[in-house]
């Protein structure tokens, strides 16, 4: 029972700390904005650990954070192999192909009004569909290895990226277009010097949405068939063997990969669109 009381104590302590921080004189500083969520996260982990130990929750229902950490440290080679298979080979290659082809398509859609009228409603429609359901078909076509996962990712990121890029390429104002007209600029001059830079905030929005979709696609597609490596494979087999500590370790990897991927794209965005009001702050 004592650990459970301890859990309540940890909760009270965390709450008290954050209340102090929030009402203190430094509430708006970067430090507090960083510390408060960290304290909250540590509090949750502390409570989790103590409750699982105190109530002796069986491993097959919820492993304690310490158990997960040990499993993580012990299985680094496996986790790394899964990471390479799913994130680098599956998600990343699909992300690059999908976003790249959507970008090229967006240029065509922007150039020909008929395509915009016809393709954009279809694109908007498809972007809301549960595209991850195409996974069994693509696994059948491209085999169990990462190619089929990359294909799922391509289909998943294509339409959100297309819709965002097209919206971005139309972002330049009528006045800015007229200015290009007065210089007698060619289509490609006006594209490279005006419309493409003006579209960057939208393009990066699409790229950021797509990072999460890429990971979802690559992991879920492995539930429909995979070689004996990969994060989705590891999760589904470990669930079957009731070794939930391994499942949680994979989820930690997925969380780290997801935030790192998103954070990386967001950092490039900051460098490229430093001029946009949302980045100037």
């Amino acid at each position: 029972m004592i650990p459970v009381l301890g859990a309540i104590g940890v909760w009270l302590l965390g709450w008290w700390l954050n209340s102090r921080l929030a009402s203190g004189p430094y509430a708006d500083t970067r430090m507090v904005r960083f510390l408060a969520p960290l304290i909250f996260g540590l509090t949750v982990i502390g409570i989790w650990e103590l409750v699982v130990r105190g109530l002796e929750v069986p491993l097959v229902i919820l492993p304690a954070p310490s158990v997960i950490a040990v499993r993580f440290a012990d299985s680094l080679p496996t986790l790394w192999a899964d990471f390479v298979q799913t994130i680098i080979k599956g998600a990343l290659s699909g992300y690059i192909i999908g976003c790249g082809s959507a970008f090229l398509m967006a240029i065509a859609v922007d150039r020909w009004d008929f395509l915009r009228l016809g393709l954009l409603p279809v694109g908007n429609f498809v972007a809301a569909l549960p595209i991850v359901g195409t996974a069994p078909i693509l696994v059948m076509w491209f085999g169990f290895d990462w190619h089929s996962k990359a294909a799922v990712v391509v289909v998943m990121v294509f339409f959100p990226m297309l819709v965002n890029t097209v919206a971005g390429l139309r972002e330049a104002t009528a006045m800015q277009r007229d200015l290009m007209e007065t210089y007698a600029a060619t289509y490609w001059q006006s594209f490279l010097k005006l419309r493409l830079p003006a579209a960057m905030p939208f393009i990066f929005n699409g790229l950021k949405i797509s990072t999460t979709l890429a990971l979802i696609g690559a992991i879920v597609a492995e539930f429909f068939g995979s070689p004996i490596v990969g994060m989705g494979f590891r999760i589904s087999t470990s669930v079957g063997q009731l070794s939930l500590d391994m499942v949680w370790a994979e989820i930690v990897v997925a969380a780290l990969a997801g935030t790192a991927f998103y954070g990386g794209v967001a950092m490039i965005e900051k460098a490229v669109t430093f001029w946009h009001p949302s980045q100037r702050g």
Binding site: L179, E181, T182, A184, A198, H276
Partner: protein
């Protein structure tokens, strides 16, 4: 062709018509517009909104296509003139690209027109001096005040040596004090560069202070109701606005505007 002047006119409009087809039916934006602008003229277009002053300027710039009549710029069609980079255009808003520094913004037309790198730097330096923005070339537009941004956009229009400058209410969004200052600078610049300037404005004092020729327009249909040749000297300090001559010209403009308004009601 105008037989009185020795050089051919820079801009000449004969029976110019422009009708827009809109959802609410056709709109007669310009009707039977006749106007001659000579080299070195400073011509203001003034009138209430909808009188076609901006539309006429856009026709000269080949941003709109007239539906009737004839219009020549430097003896060519407006579109040919545009392709020959015959004019610089200044919009109501500065419209500088936020992702380029001031210097890079001024280089934009030069890049498009294929000037060499050293030539670009040379010209940027010259026009920044011309609009009193030395030392600001490395700043981004959003780090500058509205008046400075508008000066940068004028520099951008001057950078490629077109002899026509078309300005569409360039100071409309600025406050009175900044505006006075910029008007003074614009006159000095005009005297130094001897460009032909077309200038759209809402303000009677601004039009009278700046122009050698004031074109008064009225709406529905957009047309010219009066063309006033200014008797004011070329040298114009700000306090010229208190002289009887100035007030006389302003009075005539106001009369012209009222006349155009009266037959509309």
């Amino acid at each position: 062709m105008n037989t009185e002047s020795t050089t051919p006119p820079v801009i000449e409009a004969r029976h110019l018509d422009l009708t827009f087809q809109t959802n609410d039916g056709p709109i007669h934006a310009l009707k039977d517009v006749n106007l001659t602008i000579d080299k070195g003229d400073f011509v203001s277009f003034i009138g209430p909104s909808g009188c076609g002053k901006t539309t006429f300027l856009r026709c000269i710039a080949a941003l709109e296509t007239p539906t009737g009549g004839a219009l020549t710029v430097n003896g060519m069609t407006p579109d040919e003139a545009r392709r020959n980079r015959a004019y610089g255009y200044v919009f109501q808003a500065a419209g500088l690209y936020p992702w380029r520094t001031i210097a890079k913004n001024i280089k934009l037309p030069l890049e498009i027109m294929g000037y060499s790198g050293s030539e670009q730097n040379e010209r940027v330096k010259n026009v920044l001096e011309l609009v009193d923005l030395e030392g600001f070339g490395g700043k981004f537009p959003w780090q500058l005040s509205g008046g400075m941004q508008q000066r940068a956009s004028i520099a951008r229009a001057l950078a490629f040596d077109a002899d026509i400058l078309l300005m569409d209410e360039p100071f409309g969004a600025l406050d009175e004090i900044v505006r006075d200052h910029l008007n003074e600078q614009l006159l000095a610049l005009w005297a130094r560069t001897e460009k032909t300037i077309g200038f759209v404005t809402h303000s009677i004092p601004e039009a009278v202070y700046l122009s050698t020729k004031i074109v008064v327009m009225s709406p529905r249909p957009g047309r010219i109701t009066d063309v006033i040749e200014s008797p004011l000297p070329k040298e114009r300090p700000l306090d010229i606005r208190d002289t009887p001559e100035f007030i006389e010209v302003a009075h005539r403009v106001r009369e012209g505007l009222r006349a155009g308004h009266a037959d509309d009601e």
